[in-house]
Subunit: 508 residues, 2 copies
């Protein structure tokens, strides 16, 4: 196992930095070593063994003491810095922050006021291949085109207008362009209007607050992009999960749930759903539109990935199929061009857009106009289309490499869905493998992903996991899945004494 | 009155477009003519006299028929378009939208689902001098510097990172820069952290949702920037208004309200408050910080204008005076540089920032990074400081011109507060003048402003009004106030028969 010299350890490791004597690392735990290390240090701080202002051992030093990779120690320190327990000073090292716990040390009682925080995680620095983030490859950004077109915008006569206070509807030239395109492709009708948002996420937030306040119920796929249930839960709504298979949301289940729960909103991601990669079939699209109309429920069509189809043919959107005017379509430039530029939009019947504009005004006045102007130029010039064509070609190769690698390297009994587009593939591991156990091992091999529990809208998905492949070249994808196979075999090996399972070559 | 040929009209005007026969314009009304016209057309549409798809008279034609300025008719049409009753087609004219009322015409019952909308107003096109918007002059944007520095950012090696998915904390180099500056000026302490927002408004929205949910009470100045009470009301909180005078928020009133209402949050705009322009005195700052600490209430310091001081000396911020760690400071680049680039920030104790980051992630993932990078370059290069110096010099001239004009042209009994900075001046009209009556006349003379009722946090302010002078050159300010004086005399003339008041030259 070479550099991962702590494999096989268990129990308490003692060493000669007295304050850190409580450090306990257990290699058979499902928790990655860096998180265990961070927990031990946290306990030392909370119990007063490490005092505010005290300097911690350098990462190199502690790594040597513990026989760990230095990156593992750095990851532990980073996690503690993020939660405010440590403070890093470049060139001087890491120090215990000037308070014992997160909210103490203030005369003001923040503990009594603030809600609990979700424990956020830090990706350890030593992760060489991350399948954890659904985003495009920055190496494939069309930088020369971006630079040329941005400069055109910056030099244009309209620059001062871009820099002046704008409208909550969005930058008018972009709004007109998007509305004209949507009308052309028969997605928008005369009674529709369009508002620009800071990516789709803001569209969801504004819609959640407008349409699904406390006491309301919302139907959505499960597993689902975690930002979806959270945004509706924050607004006060209750989530009713609907299962999803290779053809998208389970329509028969929808019919039953509509009858039973009378939700106000049904959220559907029809194309290359995050995290399953599933595409809703045409027949199901028709049935969902029909059900939504019949039950008087608002249909929110979340379509961030729609333009990233690698295989097969485009299907009509729910908005195009809708005849009763109850569908709200969310789209975005962020996933298909530059995620750092936050530009999405909502296309909906005008009464909805009027309320959204009012809400947006209160929320943040309007979206940033420089990015809107740059992306408009990008779209109008044809460069967006050319970039999309290249992205689709690259995506086809990625999906091919990923599917081949999954079939070749993952244990028998693993199943996965080959996506027709987007950036995500969903794996189901065979028992007794769990996504969390696999992740702990995989991170030690330098590979990460997000376990299924992260995408829960109500159900646990202990054996499910998401492989995000949008940001990696095919060779890294293959290597990553190969390492995942190794990690799976290692975990199965640990379990085999108990469960008598053998690691094996995969078939899907 | 020349082109304003309808002065003195009243009663119903009939003319030969049969569908529009119900048009009724009353020059003695406080409602501007364009709004009266829009209302008449709305009634025609709602009662079916004008049918969906029907073409309206051209603005020129209708203006001729009614003896109105063409711009007045355009403003009425624009208002109706905005509310979805009309649809404009460039070159073809205006048509009644394909539904009778705002939400009918859909098979789906939007009326049953959506909340009431606030009637938004359109600034009529013929307004030559608008005191209505608190924003800088676009003619004074430092465009050459913006162009040069933006291109440096775009050409930089870090461009791809700017375009990639970022952090909810904000663009890390900007966050570090702002935190270092705040530490340097002793605003930030070691236990503080900083998050970038889409302007201050988003900071307020996130804080309102975090700190003041349903059932909580929030203290704030009254009158106040309308986005403040609205954002807290949307979160579910109840607003307790505190009066404000030339030295800022009434601290004696605060003490009583804290005792009586036990609010969770006290929002203060210490510098050049919007709309009053008032600056909180040092003594009151100390007392407010002390009171907030004593009552365990969170202090939200809303400081969008702080860097725009034209007269006098900078005072310490509440955050600087606070020793108990209960103060949250909001600042922004938007007002002091380019409002179209939405970059503000929240400086607060780390436990608060951690929750805000979690909320921001759900809200819109993160703020646009191109603008953050451009504004960082702008600040680091020293160009922001140079721009601020020029803006302050221009601001001094504006305030001088405005104060002189108010003293010279407004009726006896008008009072106003000469602001030490910012973009707003507050006027109180003498009885029987009301801001709404004055506005109706002023708009006919091509001048607009926002009446005091717009800034209510609970009290009506019928005689108050806000003059936003940040976007106008001194000559226009003088001319605008002169016209306002004319409008005031006209309204007083109407009333004089009843109240026996004479228009007169002003003293303040």
């Amino acid at each position: 196992m070479g550099q991962f010299g702590y494999f096989g350890w268990s129990g308490i490791i003692k060493f000669n930095v007295p304050a850190l004597s409580r450090i306990s690392l257990d290699a058979s735990s499902e928790l990655p070593i860096y998180k265990q290390l961070a927990d031990s240090i946290r306990v030392s701080i909370e119990q007063g063994a490490l005092r505010p202002g005290e300097r911690l051992p350098a990462t190199r030093e502690l790594a040597g003491e513990l026989g760990l990779n230095r990156a593992t120690v750095s990851a532990a320190y980073a996690l503690l810095e993020q939660s405010g327990l440590l403070q890093g000073h470049v060139g001087r090292g890491s120090f215990v922050a000037q308070r014992g716990s997160e909210t103490s040390g203030f005369a003001f009682d923040w503990d009594g006021v603030l809600p609990e925080i979700e424990q956020s995680s830090v990706t350890p620095e030593h992760i060489a291949i991350s399948f954890a983030t659904s985003r495009p490859a920055k190496e494939e950004f069309p930088l020369p085109e971006f630079r040329r077109l941005s400069k055109e915008v910056i030099d244009s006569e309209g620059a001062a207008d871009i820099l002046q206070l704008g409208s909550a509807y969005g930058y008018e030239p972009l709004r007109r362009y998007l509305l004209a395109r949507a009308t052309e492709e028969q997605t928008a009708r005369a009674s529709d209007d369009l508002m620009i948002t800071n990516g789709c996420q803001q569209g969801l937030d504004l819609l959640a607050r407008l349409l699904a306040p406390s006491g309301h119920k919302v139907l959505m796929e499960d597993p689902v992009y975690h930002g979806l249930p959270r945004v509706f839960q924050r607004a006060g709504a209750t989530i009713c999960p609907v299962s999803i298979d290779a053809n998208g949301m389970d329509v028969d289940a929808v019919a039953g749930l509509l009858q039973r729960h009378r939700p106000c909103v049904l959220v559907v991601t029809p194309n290359f759903q995050n995290p399953t990669g599933a595409t809703l079939s045409l027949e199901r699209r028709r049935r969902i539109v029909d059900l939504a109309q019949r039950f008087g429920v608002i249909l929110v069509e979340n379509d961030v990935y729609g333009e990233l189809r690698y295989l097969g043919r485009d299907l009509p959107s729910l908005k195009q199929l809708d005849e009763s005017g109850n569908t709200i379509l969310l789209r975005s430039y962020s996933k298909v061009s530059f995620p750092g530029l936050r530009v999405g939009w909502v296309l909906a019947p005008r009464p909805v857009i009027m309320r959204l504009v009012e809400a947006k005004q209160i929320c943040d006045l309007h979206s940033d106009q420089l990015s809107q102007a740059v992306l408009l130029r990008f779209a109008e010039s044809g460069e967006l289309t050319r970039h999309l064509e290249r992205t689709r070609a690259a995506g086809r190769e990625r999906v091919q490499a990923l599917a081949d690698a999954c079939a070749a390297h993952l244990p028998v009994g693993t199943t996965f869905l080959r996506p027709e587009g987007g950036m995500n593939l969903w794996l189901e591991l065979p028992a007794p493998l769990t996504a969390h156990a696999l992740l702990a091992r995989a991170e030690e091999l330098g590979v990460s992903f997000l376990p299924g529990s992260f995408f829960s809208a109500g159900r646990p998905h202990p054996r499910g996991l998401r492989i995000s492949f949008g940001g990696l070249p095919p060779g890294r994808i293959t290597r990553g899945i190969q390492l995942l196979g190794e990690a799976a075999r290692a975990v199965l090996g640990t379990h085999s004494a108990q469960w008598n399972h053998e690691p094996a070559a995969a078939l899907v």
